[in-house]
């Protein structure tokens, strides 16, 4: 109990305090103060996270128990935080990138009225709080608290401009899609409780990893992991639950950066990496994860090729990159997936914030067809954005190269087909990113004159986070330099080793010859480079045209009509069924039965009334008939 890490409760509580102050004082706090409080608490968490990371690095891991959350019968769920290699790494990413986004927001959101400004920071802090709970929890229930918490915060932030009906629709969609996933997650947790009586990571993994004590059948494990994966598809925007993420662009741009880069969407990856032993023991699920991940990667990449909204392109690229990470998880490259989460956090945050800077300069314009030639006006944004694009396109020696390459190498070891599709996706990534880059920064300006006049470089609060993130996007990958280049270069793998130890013990280590590895890298880099140069070449000369697109490109522009499909097969039927139940079953059938009983009684009574005629003779006749009937029954029957 005397472990110094016992104080980690401060890490989530600081943002919570920020949330409470900003939330309660939103009518009195000035913008400066609420922005300062919002950023300072996250900075505090970040500093603590650095401290925690140092501790963990020196070998001190800890499970901090605070109080009993639910303690009933055999089931004991504690409010516990688990600090180990994996969670400390995520803590750094979340609070670090989160802090930069907070700083950025103080400038980006400056035109909001101070009441809304404080509300915005309150939500942002709550978001960080939820995400921290998610990664720090020492059992699935605490994780679920954060899991739903980020869902709620994304709902609040996406619907931040709540006057606009489209935005609130997007918010609602995000929440509901997440809820569908959450149901899967919950069912998996119940399954664990029913079979094991515990949800604590350590006890679950210990019991399961040991073949002698493992009470779970193969069916159980496959079921549990699949259900958990359903949860991950919701949170991390995979097929079939990915459509909320592009719509989530309705929120302010820094929010998109927060959702896409540092927090929410990485939750699914974190969860699977955390439960790696379960997944390693369920090869069928791993297969599903890999296939879904790859399919999502390809699908999203194709859609991104034809989008014109700068944020939409980035959104689909996030979905696609997440697909990559799931591919990594599916082929057992847990370290690779986590590595990609980290590098992706850097360059995607950079790209989103850069895009925000552009939108800011363009006075709210998001359509790339109206941009172009911005490199002359926004030097810092342009440079940092270019670095981000190179990183995501997987150019060596930028960070994206190392992480993407690690996943692709593992995929090749599993199945070359996976690798092939992965490389094609990587080429598409390079293509659409440089299409975006070229349309935005190269060529001639295509917007209105007022916009051109308005163009300016963003203030320091925006550019400094960009610069910091750009440095990270370039250098962040150097913690994971593969063995081929440098012996002992993969520091991250060594660091995360204890987390994935039991999985690694089960899976056979695939050794690959250095020449194969060089070949794989060469192919993917060459492919990406070709796509990159082609896109740069074509779209630098982009001119606006009013031509309606046709054929495949129309389908891509309309995102494969997936939203329409969901509307047709899920949303509308539910509405129709509900209306049917309300109008027919409830009103006519059930109420009809109830009221019908009443009516029958009423009608029957009215008919019986005629017997009461008042004619003495009739009464007597009835009496005699009655007596005769009794006689007949008595004597003859």
């Amino acid at each position: 109990m005397n472990n110094v890490l016992q104080i980690v409760w401060l890490i989530p509580v600081l943002p919570l305090i920020g949330f409470l102050i900003n939330g309660a004082g939103r009518n009195v706090l000035s913008k400066g103060i609420s922005g300062f409080i919002g950023s300072a608490v996250v900075l505090g968490s970040f500093l603590l996270s650095v401290f925690v990371f140092m501790q963990v690095k020196s070998g001190n891991t800890h499970v901090a128990h605070y109080f009993n959350f639910i303690n009933v019968d055999m089931l004991k769920i504690g409010f516990d935080f688990k600090i180990d290699q994996l969670s400390s790494l995520f803590l750094l990413i979340i609070t670090g990138v989160g802090f930069l986004i907070h700083v950025y927001s103080t400038s980006y959101m400056h035109e909001e009225p101070s009441k809304d400004f404080a509300k915005y920071f309150a939500y942002l802090n709550l978001f960080v709080f939820s995400m921290l709970l998610l990664v720090m929890g020492a059992n699935y229930v605490i994780m679920f608290i954060g899991w739903e918490g980020v869902g709620l915060c994304s709902y609040l932030l996406i619907g931040y401009w709540f006057k606009n009906n489209d935005y609130t629709n997007a918010a609602k969609k995000a929440f509901i899609m997440n809820r569908i996933g959450d149901l899967g997650f919950l069912l998996a947790v119940f399954w664990l409780i029913a079979k094991l009586g515990t949800v604590d990571y350590q006890s679950v993994f210990d019991v399961v990893a040991n073949p002698k004590t493992n009470p779970l059948t193969a069916f159980d494990i496959t079921g549990i992991t699949l259900l958990l994966f359903v949860g991950a598809t919701g949170k991390s925007a995979q097929i079939p639950l990915y459509t909320w993420l592009p719509d989530a662009m309705a929120g302010p741009t820094p929010v998109s950066a927060l959702i896409h880069a540092a927090t929410m969407v990485t939750a699914g990856i974190y969860m699977i990496a955390r439960s790696n032993i379960l997944y390693t023991m369920a090869p069928h699920t791993q297969h599903v994860v890999a296939v879904i991940g790859l399919a999502t990667g390809v699908l999203a990449a194709t859609i991104a090729l034809k989008q014109n909204d700068i944020k939409k392109v980035l959104a689909y690229s996030t979905v696609s990159q997440l697909g990559y990470m799931f591919l990594g998880l599916g082929v057992g490259a847990y370290t690779g997936a986590v590595f990609h989460v980290m590098t992706h956090a850097f360059f995607k945050a950079l790209l989103f914030l850069g895009a925000g800077s552009v939108i800011h300069a363009m006075g709210g314009e998001q359509d790339m067809r109206n941009m172009g030639g911005l490199n002359k006006h926004m030097r810092t944004t342009h440079m940092t954005f270019l670095l981000g694009c190179l990183a995501i396109a997987g150019m060596p020696p930028f960070s994206g190269f190392f992480s993407k390459d690690e996943i692709l190498a593992s995929a090749y070891a599993k199945n070359p087909v996976l690798w092939g599709i992965g490389v094609i996706t990587a080429m598409m990534t390079a293509f659409y990113m440089f299409r975006l880059y070229a349309m935005t920064f190269k060529g001639q300006f295509r917007g209105t004159h007022e916009q051109e006049h308005h163009l300016h470089e963003s203030p320091a609060a925006i550019t400094i986070p960009l610069i910091v993130l750009a440095i990270l996007a370039v250098a962040g990958g150097w913690v994971g330099i593969p063995e081929v280049f440098m012996h002992g270069g993969h520091k991250l793998e060594a660091f995360l080793e204890p987390v994935f130890a039991s999985s690694n013990a089960i899976t056979a280590k695939h050794e690959m010859s250095h020449s194969t590895e060089y070949m794989l890298m060469g192919v993917s880099v060459a492919g990406a480079l070709v796509a990159l140069l082609y896109a740069l070449n074509v779209f630098s000369k982009y001119q606006k045209s009013e031509k309606e697109s046709t054929g495949i490109s129309k389908i891509l522009e309309n995102k494969w009509y997936v939203d329409e499909l969901y509307n047709a097969i899920i949303v509308n039927p539910i509405k129709a069924i509900s209306a049917f139940l309300n109008n027919i079953v409830e009103r006519k059938l059930i109420d009809g039965l109830v009221n019908g009983t009443g009516k029958v009684v009423n009608y029957g009574s009215r008919q019986l009334r005629w017997l009461q005629s008042g004619q003495v003779g009739a009464y007597v006749l009835l009496m005699v008939i009655g007596i005769l009937l009794l006689f007949i029954i008595q004597l003859f029957l």
Partner: protein, 496 residues
Amino acid sequence: MGKFITFPELLIWLPLLGGILSFFAKKGQSAKSLALFVSLLVLAVSAASLFYTGDKFASWNAVNYYYRNNIGSTFFVKLDGTGRILTFLTALAFPIILTATYRNNYKNPASFYGLMLLAQAGLMGVFCSMDALLFYFFWELALIPVYFLCSQWGGEKRIQVTFKFFVYTFVGSLLMLTGIIYVYLHTAGRVFEDGTIVSHSFSISAFQQVHLGVKEQGWLFWLFFVAFAVKMPVFPFHTWQPDAYDQSPTAVTMVLSGIMVKMGLFGVIRWLIPVFPQASIQYSHIVMILAVTGIIYASCLAIVQDNIKKLVAYSSIAHIGLMCAALFAMNPIGTQGVMLQMFNHGINIIGMWIVVDLLEQQTGVKEISKLSGVAHKAPVLTILLVIIALANIALPLTNAFTGEFMMFSGLYMFSGWYAAIAGIGIILAAVYTLNMIQKVFYGNSNSIVDSLKDISLNEKLILAVIVCIIFFVGVYPQPVIDLTKNAVSVLTAAVK
């Protein structure tokens, strides 16, 4: 204490006397104040009772007067875990309800508040009585004031709606009475301390020990179950509820939805399962199918409701359905979840009604489609409503999550499929709740909500209390769980 008077007696007599006194109040204001005062007094007693649990204080919590020993019925009242949590809910709900509706002026206030207090006395009696005849007496005592309250102070269609409500509940009650008498006639005899010998007894222990054949248990189970199912209400016995909630005055709706529906669940916990354990196990699948169907059905209906009160009503049916299902899973976790959730649901739904009532009082409409952009006019109201609504859909760290989590895991242990289907209700709950929030609170404000003012101090206070309870129980539910722990083990032991 203990020697002269006990907690359950105080809980019953205080509101009863207060209610009778209130009828004689000359001025409306004095009746109002009296009712509030009495309800606060009851709350104090009930809060105190939470701290005097355990064997050491057994004599403080139970008393047994022999008033009709010639037929084997006694005035036997006792607070056990289940009773304690529900009496506390009742005691807590009434001051909240009375304060929240303090500025509403009812015609003939003396009778209104008198009837309210009588209903409270009846509810307290239901939750305390350990004697079947006494239970039945209080059961009716709780319902009859509500009939009058609905029919005298309700909306336009009140007579029709109250009649429906009356017929439904009365049919249920009569079936239960038949069942009680039948079981009574099969109980063993008893010799009282004063020498009276009776051949049968109404006491709960006699009921639990009664020997009935499997067939008898079967149909007796249904006699009792229908009475409780109507009260809860479980699909398909629910159609009285949306109308009754819509037409009753809001204070009465709060009593109905916050506390009265718990009478049905309580009846199952206290009487149905312990007295007919075999039949309960035998028919648990049928009950569960009804309950789970009800969850989905009511959630679907809630999606298409335009009347905000009916939406809340259907959402309540869905929640109660889940509780009923978890109860019939008959394992400790599920039952514990139900105990906790009965309390939570009461708190949350009363909070919901307070907000709905505020909207209706100020704008005069209850159609979702006519309201828009309330958030601009009443930000505090919006925030509080969103919190309560999110608690209603069981977001983690709100009270309902802990309850629903336990209920679902209990249900899952019983059968994964029921849990999965009931889980769809969670998704649908998010759909209708968010739809409602979006349409009523977001968007641009229209002319109807222009006149809206943000909430006043006493409403803010009341809602703040509710929100505090929501978060406290959401983050640290253990005290509530501990309170009902024994009751749960008794119940689950009965089934084994």
